[in-house]
Amino acid sequence: MENKKDPANKSAQETYEVADEEVEEHCQADGETEVQAQKRSAKLDLYSSIVLFLASLYVFVCGLRMPINVYTGSDDAWYGAPGGFPIIIGGILMVLSAMLFVKSWRVVGGFHKEDFKGFTQTLKSSYAKRLVLVVGLLVIYIFVLLGRMPFYVATFLYLFITMLAFRKKNFAIWKLLIICVVVVALITYGFGTLAGIPLP
């Protein structure tokens, strides 16, 4: 009888499957089987394909609305029209998103009310809350702080507040302060002064 467990008899395909097995183990560790993970991914694909289809339809229509000949306004020489490329890309993306929709529909089997419940649960998760905080701090840094105060002040504030917001409880604040000062000094002096790079 052929010993299938013998590593010497493993097929080439098995080498590549090691990574997949590790992913499966990881999924199972999170209390989610591989099939469940596949279904969850297919659900996301289903909705993302609709959004993509609509976006590519918009690009396609915008391409059609662009003038055919920019200078003369005539309809000859359609092949040089600025809208040609968006039409091609929009068309290809529409086909691909339709393919993705069909593929994920076959796995999921349609729209379900539970999907929306899952979506609202995801929004309430600690990951989502932390994500909003990260994005919020980045928005404040880019759109509020930078340009209204010197770069080093804005960067110090961003670094210190972000590190403070996400620090582990046993990490001392004075250590954070030192890290922020050193990093700001390195970026401002190293890039701005030594390397002569313009800073925001």
């Binding site: 590593p7 490329f85 961003y158 972000t162 996400f166 890039f191 313009p198």
Partner: protein
């Protein structure tokens, strides 16, 4: 031979005190970037591209190539010590490297990975210097038709191979990048497309903010939001100094090194395939050809050598189509294409005419970068456990500030920083939905090339599509595009498996 002499002359010229310092610092930075999980070679190059803008060409490329080579190698350090690959290219190294570290052979695994990476890079460099001019002479026959098709091929092949198991998503990502590239004045008539009367958008989406947004911001958001705990570092024992040295490794594993070098270079040279596929293919071949295949995936030295030699040989390989055709061989090479364009170097068949010594200069830089990678790699290995224990809540905000500096620096314009932020949010959404980022970047880079060449070809043929299917090189490109699509279908895979079975049967009978 003259090419090799020229290469060595260039190598000697690179040894100035200033260059040595640059090589040392940047290759060490590359190794650190590579070894930190969540950061990649692509991200390192994207971050540094903006910062090298004001530097002379040679110094800028020394920095970029050192980061590239260092980061591809650096991924192996975290793969061996904590079992998490720092880069995708090192994912194969985990299989044996981490098991060796768990057995207390971590230092030996690191030494061998360093030597393998060094030899792999050197092998790739010689192939780069030798093969690129040959490929360029073929590419001189390319017209607008071939360039347009080549850009589409780049997108489809990159999409096929960079998406884990779902090529449709890879293709969508690539064409989404091309869609982003439509923003701004059109390259032929200067007609504003998708600009919505926003002056900043007239110039289009700049490459560097797009690259930083797609590679930097998603990592920053995910790492901070998920609060990953610091990794568990495997214990390391001091080995016999003879083991793991360059001479010891070459003497004991000469055939394996050569085999992995060849596989790495040629897989790297296939547009869009990249270092990670090279490592897996080399590992698989090493297992098949080994006298002890049962030892693989149990902490076997040959597994580490095969993976690490191939992924670094793929660096040189990935530059072959990049420099000769203008189509990158891997994800980081796609970012490099953007960096080259930013520095005024237009890759493709005309490169040899515009700057005849460029390829040799690049090969020389890569060769010296490999040398310094070996030294800085040995140094970083000593401090790696400390580097790997930097918590993400400290590291990621610093990366955030660097992303902003990197995207601002090119045009000293805050609009680019805002573009980087919005593309970063898009990149994060795509990342969570498992769409690969590399094809998006490639789409942004190749979009204008594809747009202008399709329309130029159609204008030249007065609207006829005949040149697209009558010119010999165009037919090859069309077949390649069709193959990149068809090879992902189940029918094709079944046919190929059946064909393989039949061929095996015929050989067995003989």
């Amino acid at each position: 031979l003259s090419q090799i002499i020229l290469l060595l002359q260039n190598v000697v010229q690179l040894f100035t005190p200033e260059n040595i310092l640059l090589f040392l610092v940047c290759s060490a930075a590359g190794v650190v970037i590579g070894c930190l999980p969540g950061m990649s070679a692509s991200m390192g190059i994207a971050l540094l591209t903006g910062l090298t803008y004001g530097y002379p060409l040679q110094k800028a490329f020394i920095m970029l190539m050192s980061i590239y080579v260092g980061a591809i190698y650096g991924g192996s350090i975290s793969a061996i010590l904590i079992g998490i690959p720092g880069t995708g290219a090192a994912s194969c190294t985990v299989l044996d490297g981490n098991k060796m570290a768990r057995k207390g052979q971590g230092r030996l695994a690191l030494n061998v990975a360093t030597v393998g990476s060094f030899i792999g890079t050197v092998f790739g460099v010689f192939c780069l210097a030798g093969l690129t001019p040959m490929l360029q002479s073929i590419a001189l026959n390319f017209t607008s038709v071939e360039y347009a098709l080549l850009a589409i091929f780049g997108i489809t092949i990159c999409g096929s191979l960079s998406s884990a198991g779902d090529p449709i998503k890879g293709w969508i990502a690539g064409f989404l990048g091309m869609m982003i590239s439509c923003i701004g004045l059109d390259p032929i008539y200067g007609y504003p497309r998708f600009t919505y009367n926003i002056v900043g958008l007239l110039g289009g989406i700049a490459m560097v903010p797009a690259m930083i947004g797609l590679f930097g911001v998603p990592n920053l958001l995910h790492e901070l939001a998920s609060s990953t705990p610091p990794a568990d570092i495997a214990n390391m024992k001091k080995e016999d100094k003879k083991e793991g040295g360059i001479l010891w490794t070459v003497k004991k594993h000469m055939r394996l090194i050569l085999q992995s070098g060849v596989i790495g270079t040629f897989v790297g040279a296939v547009p869009g395939v990249g270092e990670d596929v090279a490592a897996w293919l080399s590992y698989d071949t090493a297992k098949k050809t080994s006298k002890t295949p049962e030892k693989f995936n149990t902490g076997h030295l040959e597994g580490v050598i095969a993976a690490e030699t191939a992924n670094n040989a793929a660096v040189g390989g990935a530059l072959i189509p990049l420099l000769s055709l203008g189509v990158p061989g891997s994800g980081p090479a796609a970012i490099l294409l953007g960096s080259f364009t930013l520095h005024g170097v237009i890759c493709g068949p005309m490169l040899a005419e515009r700057s005849p010594t460029f390829i040799v200069e690049m090969s020389a830089i890569l060769l010296v970068a490999a040398l310094f990678m070996r030294f800085s790699g040995m140094l970083v290995c000593q401090v790696a456990p400390k580097v790997l224990s930097i918590p993400s809540e400290i590291l990621m905000p610093i990366i955030g500030s660097l992303c902003i500096v990197g995207s601002y620096v090119i045009y000293a314009n805050m609009f680019d920083v805002k573009v980087m932020f919005f593309i970063g949010i898009l990149g994060f959404v795509l990342d969570r939905l498992h769409y690969p980022a590399a094809p998006v970047v490639l789409g942004v880079i190749l979009g204008p090339m594809c747009d202008s060449n399709i329309r130029r070809a159609l204008v030249a043929s007065k609207g006829s599509l005949a040149p697209f299917y009558t010119r010999p090189i165009a037919i090859i490109c069309l077949i390649a595009i069709a193959w990149s699509f068809l090879s992902q279908t189940k029918i094709w895979k079944k046919c190929m498996a059946a064909l393989g079975g039949q061929i095996k049967k015929v050989f067995k009978r003989k």
